[in-house]
Amino acid sequence: MSLSTAEDLPTPAPIVVREPSLWFKLGLVALLALLCLVPFLFVLTISFGHKIEGAGWAFGFEFSHYKRFFLGATWPETFQSLYIQRLGYSLFFAAIGAVIAVALAFPFTYFLTRMSRRAQTVWLVVLLSSLSLSEVFIVMGWDILLSARSGLPALLDGIGFTDLMKDLGWFQWFRDVGLASPRAFKFKTSGFATVLCMAYLVWPYAVILLYPALSRLDPALVEAARTMGARPGQVVRTVVLPSVRLPLFGSTLLLFVFLLGTYVTISVFADPSQHTLAVSIYDSVRGSTLNAPFGAAQSVILLITAGLFLIAGQKLSKAGGTA
């Protein structure tokens, strides 16, 4: 409050009017535009470029890469939806991962903000360390935990769960959903492992994103509701949740967009038939198929998808904020 009133006061006119920083500012804008904006312009330009067999690409203006994405390379003779499917899996995995992460982060963050300042600081150090941990390490950890030889399948086998399921005749169900081989449980590759790892990846982000909103929640509100006889569950449902509805929605959306580009997790844990757009961008630009313009076109589509979701989210949250 004090800040805005200070700004509203008429400031005394500066005695020396000089603007040496203008050139500096323009220089900074130019430098940042080069580093932060130009890369995206390159992606956009090259997506219309022409692929040279075995050499790379040349500037051009053709829509063949977009056509290949939406209709298949051989359209109109045949129609292929492989890349639309890939985009679908990107959206599918990212949505489930983000929702699970936020759903599990919400109660955690709520309890975290009720702790002492000191305990909060310790937790924040742990969370930030986990959040910044490289995806390759996290994948490494879950790879061991889910591996057939020394991970969860071996544990389930050891405690007799595998045999129990076989005796009960439920084992077939696990095979049907792709979580078991004929003899034992198998989580690599599976949608379960992918979603688990993705949710794990963004869970600390979810906590950090929800933390400001929940920590600014007036404890008097909760106390008042409790005094009036509401049970803890009721308080969360009727007081806490409605007041952090927007941050909840916003963080889910941000994490969803972040997860759209996940590469390592998908390439290790997802079945090749369920690989996402990020994997095929990688294959086109640096990997096996080497078609930079097509990779760029796929990147543009991923970018537009992410942008559309962010814009729609902003519209929705504005509407929700005024309602």
């Binding site: 702790m115 950890g141 920590s215 967009v257 390592v264 630009v285 991923l302 992410a306």
Partner: protein
């Protein structure tokens, strides 16, 4: 306020889930053989000496990681300081444009930014050189010090500035005696945030390095085809250790809950 039994149980479970993969990786580093087994077989500390001393691949990778992380964090702070300062002094369209540009790489899926940087550096001739990687990470993570420095600038009491102005201090003097000292902890926090994230970053560095040099995360990914080995787990331990140390320093010398957006009035 007391936390309910359910609350403590939930937090405990979350902590276990959070720690599980990290502990498993750490334990696997002790394996005597070449494969990642848990619990470790034939425990030994040989992998640590391999990672830090005897295997040049890992030593070089670690060296590259350190160089990129430190220099790109310094560049990120250099980008962020004027931007935060301009925004704080007077939020003109130009300073908003600067902040917006810095936020851009952060708001899109990182793989797209990586692909774009790869194209740009190959066009400008920097692809595969370390400085291009450093600049790329500097641009990618400049948003972090921008946020922490802005929080620091906002925490300066305007009364101090008014007092300085009344007593005839020039802009330079005010900057040196009031603004700079009060924002140093926030600047250092921003530096550490950028450094730790750059240290751990994978996909952007992958496209920018173009296989001509490797950081630790890249080297681990490159070796992934042959499966994970205990030596890589040593890398993971090193990285976790660096992150915890950096964020502990931030917490020790700065106000971490405030940096993360906690309410000021409650303690």
């Amino acid at each position: 306020m007391r936390i309910s039994l359910f609350g403590r149980l939930f937090m405990g479970l979350s902590a276990v889930m959070l720690m599980l993969p990290i502990l498993v990786v750490a334990a696997s580093a002790l394996n005597g053989g070449r494969s990642m087994l848990f619990p470790p077989q034939d425990p030994t500390l040989t992998r640590f000496s391999e990672f830090f001393i005897s295997e040049p691949i890992w030593r070089t990778a670690l060296g590259n990681s350190v160089i990129v992380a430190l220099s790109s964090a310094a560049i990120a702070v250099l980008f962020a300081w004027p931007a935060a300062y301009f925004l704080w002094k007077r939020a003109t369209g130009l300073s908003k444009a600067i902040a917006g540009l810095m936020a851009l790489p952060f708001a899109v899926p990182p793989i797209v930014f990586g692909v774009g940087l790869g194209f740009m550096w190959s066009f400008l001739g920097g692809l595969g050189s370390l400085w291009a990687g450093i600049l790329s990470h500097g641009a990618l993570f400049a948003a972090l010090p921008l946020v922490t420095i802005s929080i620091g600038l906002q925490s300066i009491d305007r009364a101090h500035l008014d007092a300085a102005a009344t007593m005839g201090a020039t802009e330079g003097v005010t900057f040196r005696t009031i603004i700079l000292p009060q924002t140093i902890p926030y600047t250092i926090s921003g530096f550490f945030f950028a450094m730790v994230l750059s240290f751990n970053e994978f996909i952007v560095m992958f496209f920018v390095s173009s296989s001509s040099y490797a950081t630790v995360t890249l080297q681990i990914f490159n070796s992934l085809r042959n499966g994970f080995t205990p030596t890589m787990a040593v890398g993971a331990i090193t990285f976790i250790f660096v992150s915890v140390a950096a964020f502990s320093l931030v917490a020790r010398y700065g106000d971490l809950p405030r940096l993360m957006g906690a309410d000021q009035s409650r303690n």
